[in-house]
Subunit: 205 residues, 2 copies
Amino acid sequence: MLLCDIGNTSYHFLDGAKDYKKSVTTFKPQSVEEEIFYICVNPEVTKILKHQKNWINLAKFVDMKNYYETMGIDRIFACEAVENAVIVDAGSAITVDVVKEGVFEGGFIYPGVKAMQETYANISSRLDYSFNFECDLDIMPKNSQDAISYGFVKTLYSEVISHNMNVVLTGGDADKLKKIFKEAKIEKELIFAGMKKIIKKAKIC
Amino acid sequence: MLLCDIGNTSYHFLDGAKDYKKSVTTFKPQSVEEEIFYICVNPEVTKILKHQKNWINLAKFVDMKNYYETMGIDRIFACEAVENAVIVDAGSAITVDVVKEGVFEGGFIYPGVKAMQETYANISSRLDYSFNFECDLDIMPKNSQDAISYGFVKTLYSEVISHNMNVVLTGGDADKLKKIFKEAKIEKELIFAGMKKIIKKAKIC
């Protein structure tokens, strides 16, 4: 079974146990001949895939009543993968979604690591530091690097743990956030797990 | 007594009860003839003011042992103004500083309202919303505008209130944050209050 999670910059494939990425600008979806199940947040690619009969959009098999219209389909599939958890998906944005008893309760969006670092640097060259993910969040900072690191991660951390639920980390910067969310579980293939669950539920494979 | 708090963009004067601002690019400090007490975070202006005998830099009268070297002098003077509080100074950056029994315990830096709004818009045009400061922080959002509003303010709020201390709001966006920090006190002239306290302590006026 071939799965594909399409973002703004890449096609992310899962072929059995093997995953790989292809650039949105160069990859030709026509080159795939077998049946492939996908989700896609990229409006341009969505248009192209509509005309490819072997590309099956899983979005239409999800019961949307608990989600909201403008919510990214990748967030929805991550939510479908869990029963009880706060999902922290750390990409260009960090999305935080709460699922209780298999039902999406709501979520919020926080800027991603790279975006936030640029934000500080743009405010002042004196705030142009890399984040220190090792900084001690139990004491208030007394230096500039820790002051922005704490500002970025402790605020996020305080909110996330206030839900008193298991935390699941996914996305490209999951490893960085793991240094802060020490008890969290990393699940790199969370979206694919959600896709598999929907395929099973809809009995389409 | 004439006081002046100089930032990156403006001279902020307090003349008795009257306060007013002048642009850093056009104002001539030589035009002030009387004695004036100032603090300044702007390195260019600091250089110019060194040669003006009637401009008295209050920075040298502060006991720096509890602060850190790269900490903005405006933050330091805000801290000098309080005995027990979390100070949230909402400008181009939002600085959050904890003072206990008159001693600075540490602080962190969070992006300001404008910077953060631009950050979301740059991540995706689908996140290009104004923040909703009226959004209900007790429930997890189910729409995009509240998802970014919550991401910006609830994270900050959760961290700040975790200190279980009185919150003092200051800076240009204090009124916006007051909608979230409902129990907080707004003190627009906090830095000037710190300056007056140092002047009194140092017996220079």
